[in-house]
Amino acid sequence: MNYKGIIKQNNIIIAGIVAIPFYWIFESVLHVVIFHDTNFIDQLLFPEPHEIWMRSFVAAFLIVLGVYIQLRVTERKKAEETLMESEGRYRSFMETLTDAVVSIDEDQAITFWNPAAESILGYMEDEVLGKSLEIVVPDKYLENHKKGVKRYLKTGKPKVVGKTVELEAKRKDGKIIPIELSLSVDKLKERYNFTGIIRNITERKEAEKEIQLKEENLRLLIDSSQDCICHISLDGKFLSMSAAGCRLNELDSKDELIGKNCTTGIVENLDEVEKGVKRALEGKTMSLQYKSVGKKGRKISWDSVITPVRDNNGEITSILRISRDITDKKFAEKKLKKAHEELKSLDTLKSDIIANVSHELRTPITIISASLDLIKNEEDKKERRELIIMAKDALNRQNRIVSDLIAATEMKLGNMDIKVSSFPINDLINLSVLDFETRGSNLKAKIVIQLEEDLPMIMGDFDQLKHAIQNLLNNAIKFNKGNEDVLIEAKKKKSIIEVCVTDKGIGMSPKHIKKIFDPLYQADSSAGRSYEGTGMGLAIVFKIIEAQGGKIWAESEEGRGSKFYFTLPTDNKGASRRG
């Protein structure tokens, strides 16, 4: 401390000390004036002893007084300085604080308003001091705010005080902003003073909103997927399931399976799924298929991928299983496979028919060829005639085979033309038999016709029905034993006509009867084909009768013969007539 400093620091003490010589001079002057007996120099330089004591005492008093005053002044100054410093610090703290600090008294009059409050709420300090806080409370909070203050003042029980709450505030420009409010209260001179720290959380809210939006988008994305997307915990429990997953599994709510084992409901390839989860825990991805049963019992086929979910550090935190419902696809595949099998068997059948027909055609060709060879060198007229008839017969047979083939082809293509007309059943049967007999001159059996009297007219395609009847007659004769008669009958039954062709031939086993109307049953090698014929005959009859709206069936006894029945609708409008 230099000289000036000493003076400045202790100037009152110095003043006291400086005052001593002045006092000494003053006292000397005073003594001369009062007593007139001494001269001033004597008094100043050689005072009397009691004067010396007196003057010394006053000097000491002045020094002590100076020291005392000096001490008091220094103390006050120090206190002032500390206060100034603390206030300055407080002010700068308040000024730099980004949170608004606002105080109000019991009457809600604003008593403190820091710079952050100015920037957050838009009002300047001098604009609001003394005014009601209500200017920054949005209308919808106003009522509650008033009640809250009143209640606290009355009961002293805090609801918001001492806590941090999210609220909204109204800025000077009218804009409502989200805020976080921490409210504290203090009591000064029996009056409450409320201080709120207000933080503008607009950005935080926006960030939260953005995160929410992102989460919502992710959820929408997952839920708009048609796959069953399952989030699975490391211990194999469901954490969540996509909307499609819930729908496909026939669940009532999204939370139904949460917490349950991820293999719940799986009925096929369960071990594969378990293996997939285990692999995912090892960090591998696995594709697999499995079947499960929905809550309502639907059996579902799944095509699935199980894969680990990793966090930013690469740690496996959970498992993702994305499964696609391939039930329909599987079904379609199955159907396609079946259709393919059917097509394949049809193709085999077709090959069989071709083989069969070509064999079948060879017999008449053999007859024609041999007959012609014999005719060449035959002199006898009668013999020649016989051979010609035989060749002609064979040609007719060939013709029948070709007709069958054409009929079968037409049926396969589904465009069997029916030329419906009304005619007497008698005409149909008589003509069919007559035609059949003339075509086959060497019949093994006789055909007997038995027709009920007054049979009504029938509706149908005459030529097709003739073909059907002749096929039945051909069968009856082919399988006939010895020279038994073949019988053809027709009866009226209510609104239909029933026709029956009976033979006393080798008959059929019940197993065969079931299949005889199947296309080309005879062509089927497993049936142990041993009869001539294309095997198409009965299938053609079946189709023809069905197309006329009739029914066909057979009764048979092995070794005793067969009965083939078919029905035809009568023509209600046409008058009955005897054929």
Partner: protein
């Protein structure tokens, strides 16, 4: 002159074959199916059998097997007489059913006569 048994369910084939071979001075015996054929074989033995495949009841191959199994008839030459001309069918005739030869239908008269004569010479 030889005795030939022809088995066929088609009357025209029977008549024609009979005529052709009768002109060559052979005695013709006729059977309409396998059953009848085996019955005939129970009596006088023919020198040759012409056997159709597509017969009612048991087919020609089955009949042939029976003939070849029976020590009394196994030495009679059997010629399958059939429309089944595929390699597979010929194999069935010659390997499975042990027939001696096969004549395919339709046939040439000369071929039939030649084949029959060949077997009869043996």
């Amino acid at each position: 002159m030889a005795r030939i048994l022809i088995v066929d369910d088609d009357p025209s084939i029977l008549i024609l074959t009979k005529r052709i071979l009768e002109k060559e001075n052979h005695e013709m015996v006729i059977a309409k199916d396998g059953q009848e054929c085996l019955e005939i074989l129970g009596g006088d033995r023919p020198d040759l059998i012409l056997l159709d495949v597509m017969l009612p009841g048991q087919n020609g191959w089955e009949v042939c097997k029976k003939i070849k199994k029976d020590p009394k008839t196994k030495n009679i030459p059997v010629v399958m007489f059939t429309v089944h001309t595929s390699r597979e069918s010929v194999e069935k005739s010659l390997v499975n059913a042990h027939a001696d030869a096969q004549i395919n239908k339709p046939f040439e008269i000369e071929e039939l006569i030649k084949t029959v004569e060949e077997f009869l010479k043996k």
